[in-house]
C-alpha cells in the first residue's frame, strides 16, 4: 500500500474515535510537556548558574603550597622557572602567571563625568593584579593590553561579574546611580595614585599620579581586583623595590578531560590547586544537573506511562475492530499494511500530543517566569528567564512522545497483523 493510503486510513480511523484519541493524545501531551518544561528549566537554571559562576572547565589555578617542608628550604616558589615547568606539563596549552601588586593603588576621585555617583570624600582602595595579555586577549576587543611605561595610561580589565554586583548590590546599598541600560563602561578613564593607601602605615613614601583606562570586561579576572598588564605590575614592583614572585599561575588545559591529570601533576610538583571558584561552580552545576536529571527522569517515566496508556487503548481498539481489519485485508491490504496503519495511528497520537505538550510547556514556562520575576527580589545575576529553549528542544518534545506512542503501538500493531480475514469474516 502507498504511504499516502496508509496515512489516509490511519487518519480516518483516528477521526472515527475522537474521544479515545483525545485521551491518548492528552497522556502523550502531559509526558511531552513535562519533558520539555523540566529540560528547559534545567538548561535555563544551568545557564544562570554559569553566569553566576563562570568557571572555565579547562582552567587550573596553581598556588604555592600552604604547608611545605620544601618551601622552608626554598622550593615551590611560583617564579619564572616554575611557570616554565608548569607550562611543559602534558595537556597544558598555556600557563599564565599572575602577580598581585604589592604597591597600593587608590582612586581619590571619580572618573570624569561620574562625580555625582562618587560619595564625597571617598578614596577607593583598588586591589591590582598583573596578568599576561594572552589571558584576556579575547576580552579586550583588539586593544593593546601592554605596559605603557612610566607616565602612560595603564590599560585595565575588570571582572564582568563586578558590574552585575555593582548594579544589584553596591548601587542600591549606597544609593548610587545605576549604569544606564546600553551604556558601556569600556573606554572609561580614571585618575589613580600609585603608592597611596587608606590604611595607615601601608602607604609608600613615593606616591605617583597615574591614569587607568578600562579596555574590557572578562570572566577570567577575579571579581574584586583590577587587572593590569603583567609588565606594569613587574615595573611597579621594581620601581618600589618589591619582591616579584607570582601569586598564582593559571594553566589552560587542552581539553576539560585533561584537567584531573594536570592537577595531579601540579600536586606532584609540590604546588597546590585553588579549587575555590571551580569547586563552587562544580557544586552548583552538580546540584542543578542532579535536580534537572531527576525531573527529566520523572518526565521520561510519564512518557513511558503515556506509552502504556496508548498501548492499552490501541490494543482495545484493535480487538474491537478485527472485522474492519479483516475487511481491509479483503480489499487488498497486506498484514504489513495493517501493522503500519496501527503504528501510524500511534505515531499521529504521539505527534499531536507531543506538539501540544511542547506548546503547553512553553506557555507554562512563560507563566512561571512572570510569577517568579514578580515575586523574587532583584539580586546579582538574577536571570531574566529561568528557562532555555534551544532549537532542538521542541523537536525533542515532539519526538519523544512519538517514540513512546510508537513503542506503545508495537504490540497492538503486531496483533492487528495477525488477524486472519477468513476466520474473522466467517
Amino acid at each position: 500500500m502507498s504511504a499516502r493510503g496508509l496515512f489516509w486510513i490511519a487518519r480516518a480511523r483516528l477521526r472515527a474515535d475522537r474521544r479515545g484519541v483525545l485521551l491518548d493524545a492528552a497522556a502523550a501531551c502531559v509526558g511531552g510537556a513535562a519533558l520539555v518544561f523540566f529540560l528547559a528549566l534545567g538548561l535555563g537554571v544551568s545557564a544562570a548558574a554559569r553566569r553566576m559562576f563562570p568557571a572555565d572547565a579547562r582552567l587550573v589555578e596553581v598556588i604555592p603550597p600552604v604547608v611545605s617542608l620544601r618551601g622552608v628550604l626554598g622550593g615551590e616558589k611560583l617564579d619564572d622557572l616554575a611557570v616554565g615547568r608548569l607550562a611543559r606539563i602534558p595537556g597544558v596549552s598555556a600557563a599564565w602567571p599572575k602577580l598581585m601588586l604589592k604597591v597600593p593603588v587608590a582612586a581619590p576621585q571619580a572618573p570624569p563625568g561620574l562625580a555625582q555617583s562618587w560619595p564625597p570624600g571617598m578614596t577607593l582602595q583598588i586591589p591590582v593584579l598583573g596578568v599576561p595579555p594572552a589571558m584576556v586577549a579575547d576580552d579586550v576587543g583588539g586593544e593593546r593590553f601592554e605596559d605603557p611605561g612610566p607616565g602612560g595610561t595603564i590599560p585595565v580589565v575588570l571582572s564582568r561579574r563586578l558590574l552585575e554586583v555593582y548594579e544589584k548590590t553596591i548601587a542600591p546599598a549606597w544609593n548610587l546611580p545605576r549604569i544606564p541600560p546600553g551604556v558601556s563602561l569600556v573606554g572609561l578613564e580614571m585618575p589613580v595614585r600609585i603608592g597611596l593607601s587608606i590604611v595607615p602605615g601601608k602607604g609608600e613614601p613615593k606616591v605617583t599620579p597615574a591614569r587607568v583606562r578600562l579596555i574590557g570586561l572578562s570572566d577570567r579576572v577575579p571579581m574584586y581586583v583590577m587587572a593590569v598588564p603583567l609588565g606594569t605590575a613587574r615595573r611597579l614592583h621594581a620601581e618600589y623595590g618589591k619582591e616579584g614572585i607570582y601569586t598564582q599561575v593559571t594553566l589552560l588545559a587542552s581539553r576539560p578531560d585533561d584537567v584531573p591529570a594536570v592537577a595531579a601533576t601540579v600536586h606532584r610538583m609540590g604546588f597546590d590547586v585553588d579549587e575555590g571558584d571551580q569547586a563552587a561552580a562544580e557544586r552548583v552545576g552538580a546540584v542543578v544537573g542532579v535536580t534537572a536529571g531527576a525531573l527529566v527522569l520523572l518526565s521520561v517515566v510519564m512518557c513511558v506511562l503515556a506509552a502504556l496508556a496508548i498501548a492499552r487503548s490501541l490494543s482495545a481498539s484493535v480487538a474491537g475492530r478485527v472485522r474492519e481489519i479483516a475487511v481491509l485485508q479483503a480489499l487488498g491490504a497486506t498484514p504489513s499494511d495493517v501493522r503500519w496503519v496501527v503504528l501510524l495511528e500511534g505515531g499521529m497520537i504521539g505527534l499531536s500530543g507531543g506538539v501540544a505538550g511542547t506548546f503547553l510547556a512553553a506557555l507554562v514556562s512563560l507563566a512561571v517566569d512572570a510569577v517568579a520575576l514578580s515575586l523574587l527580589p532583584d539580586f546579582p545575576f538574577r536571570p531574566e528567564t529561568f528557562f532555555a529553549f534551544p532549537p532542538w528542544l521542541p523537536f525533542l518534545g515532539a519526538a519523544v512522545p512519538v517514540l513512546a506512542a510508537l513503542a506503545g503501538a508495537l504490540a497492538p500493531a503486531a496483533a492487528a497483523a495477525r488477524v486472519e480475514p477468513a476466520r474473522t469474516l466467517s
Binding site: 474492519e324 487488498g332 491490504a333 469474516l425
Partner: protein, 222 residues
C-alpha cells in the same frame, strides 16, 4: 475466470478434524453468474474465502483470472484481491468511521504507490456511488443508511476497482424482499457486463437470477 479443482478444507475442533470441503471442482466464466446454495454451516463462506484468496489453508488448486493462488506471495495475493476481486458480505462490513464515499474510496487508497491520485479516486468513487443510486448519501456515515443502502455502498466499494470477479456472501441475507431483489438484479447486470459473479446464499430467490445454481452438501458441489 474462477477455477477450483479438488479443493479440500478442514477445521480442527479440539482433537477432531471437521472436513468442510471435500474435493470441490468449480469454474465460473466471464459474464456468468453462479449461485451456490446450501444451508448455514455447509461451508459456503469457506468456499468463497478460498476462492477469494482470503484463506490459504486448503488442499487442491485455485486460480483467479488465470493466476494460481498458491503460487502468489502475500503482496501479490493482496494486489489480486485489490484489483481483480470484489467482495460483498452479508453484514456489509462498511467501516463505521468513514462516510459512504470514503468506504467506496478504500480500494483505491489501498492501491500500491502507482495508483491514482486521491482526487481522481474521489471522482471515480462518486461515479460508482451514482451508479448504485446513492450519490446523494455520499457523505453520510454507514450508521445513517438503511440496510439496502449500506449493501449498495458495499457493492459500490466492490465495483470501484472494476474487478473481473465478484464474490458475494449472502448479499441479501439482511435485506427485505424488495431490496434483496434489487441487489440481485444489480448482480445479474454486472454478470451481463462481463464479470464473473459467484454468490453463495441459502435463499432460493437469488438463484433465480443466476445462470447456474449449485448445491453444497456435505462438502461437495452438485
Amino acid at each position: 475466470m474462477i477455477s477450483l479443482s479438488g479443493v479440500e478444507k478442514s477445521f480442527k475442533d479440539g482433537a477432531r478434524e471437521i472436513q468442510v470441503l471435500r474435493g470441490v471442482d468449480l469454474r465460473v466464466e466471464e459474464g456468468e453468474m453462479a449461485a451456490i446454495l446450501g444451508p448455514s454451516g455447509s461451508g459456503k463462506s469457506t468456499l468463497l474465502h478460498v476462492a477469494g484468496g482470503l484463506d490459504r489453508d486448503y488442499r487442491g488448486e485455485v486460480s483467479v483470472a488465470g493466476k494460481p493462488l498458491d503460487r502468489l506471495g502475500v503482496r501479490e495475493l493482496a494486489r489480486l484481491r485489490n484489483e481483480t476481486i470484489g467482495f460483498v458480505f452479508q453484514s456489509f462490513n462498511l467501516l463505521p468511521g468513514l462516510s459512504a464515499l470514503e468506504n467506496v474510496m478504500l480500494p483505491g487508497m489501498l492501491r500500491t504507490p502507482d495508483g491514482e491520485p486521491p482526487g481522481a479516486i474521489r471522482v471515480r468513487a462518486m461515479e460508482v456511488l451514482e451508479r448504485v443510486g446513492l450519490l446523494s448519501k455520499a457523505l453520510a456515515p454507514p450508521a445513517r443508511l438503511s440496510g439496502g443502502e449500506r449493501q449498495r455502498v458495499a457493492i459500490a466499494r466492490a465495483l470501484f476497482a472494476r474487478p473481473r470477479v465478484l464474490l458475494a456472501d449472502e448479499p441479501t441475507g439482511n435485506l427485505d424482499a424488495f431490496t434483496g431483489d434489487e441487489i440481485t438484479r444489480l448482480f445479474a447486470e454486472m454478470a451481463r457486463g462481463g464479470m464473473a459473479v459467484l454468490v453463495v446464499t441459502h435463499e432460493e430467490r437469488i438463484s433465480r437470477a443466476a445462470g447456474r445454481v449449485l448445491h453444497l452438501r456435505e462438502g461437495r458441489l452438485s
